[in-house]
């Protein structure tokens, strides 16, 4: 499977997935830290991919969705955005409902 297919499989098979530097427990970038903390605060399970441990995804994810930076957050197969947008959605209360809807679809 080529790397773009692998990414496509990850974002479609998981209701919510974050591509981040490090892990939610040990983030290695402040933006990844804040975005994964916002997802955790919503209380809905989510998948994560540590891009520092997967050079192929690190190199190719930016061209998957025309987004040059990390983290990247996908809900129900769609790019939601990076850290700033995720925090904005969390502050406005939409993030949790988006995650809930995606989780219900995949249940």
């Amino acid at each position: 499977m080529d790397v773009l297919e692998r990414i496509g499989e990850q974002v479609k098979s998981n209701p919510v997935v974050i591509y981040m530097k490090g892990t939610p427990q040990f983030p290695q970038c402040g933006f990844s830290m804040r975005a994964s903390a916002a997802l955790q605060e919503c209380g809905i399970p989510f998948a994560y991919v540590n891009v520092l441990q997967d050079p192929e995804i690190f190199e190719n994810l930016p061209r998957y969705a025309d987004w040059p930076t990390f983290p990247q957050i996908y809900i129900d197969g769609e790019l939601v955005g990076g850290c700033d947008i995720t925090l904005e959605l969390h502050a406005g209360g939409q993030l949790k409902s988006m995650m809930e809807e995606a989780a219900a679809k995949h249940a």
């Binding site: 530097k21 955005g81 990076g82 700033d84």
Partner: protein, 105 residues
């Protein structure tokens, strides 16, 4: 011209901003002095009115792609219409502290 000035010029040309703040936050991260690697942008423009946040950020990323390909590593983006910005009280959020990953790429 340093990177901050180049970013300001490119964004002014592309978005006709009502308000623009570009902050070099590289000193907050594990990069050498003068790295010009981490920036925060607050851009308030009427041209965002019919665009989602993802679409706005993509436009900025595209406008700044020469910088992103030339050593600009992190870009915090706060993109508002004038109405949205006034509703938020005209402030710009604080960027997060470094967690060390800048060295990795």
């Amino acid at each position: 011209m340093n990177r901050k000035a180049r970013i300001e010029e490119a964004l002014k040309d592309a978005f006709d901003p009502m308000h623009l703040e570009v902050v070099d936050e590289s000193h907050m991260h594990s990069v050498p002095a003068g790295a010009e690697s981490h920036f925060k942008v607050l851009l308030v423009s009427e041209s965002f009115a019919d665009k989602t946040l993802v679409a706005r950020h993509r436009l900025l990323n595209r406008t700044l792609s020469p910088e992103l390909e030339g050593g600009l590593h992190a870009l915090a983006l706060h993109t508002w219409t004038p109405e949205e910005w006034f509703a938020k009280g005209g402030k710009v959020p604080e960027s997060p502290p470094c967690q060390g990953g800048s060295k990795a790429g």
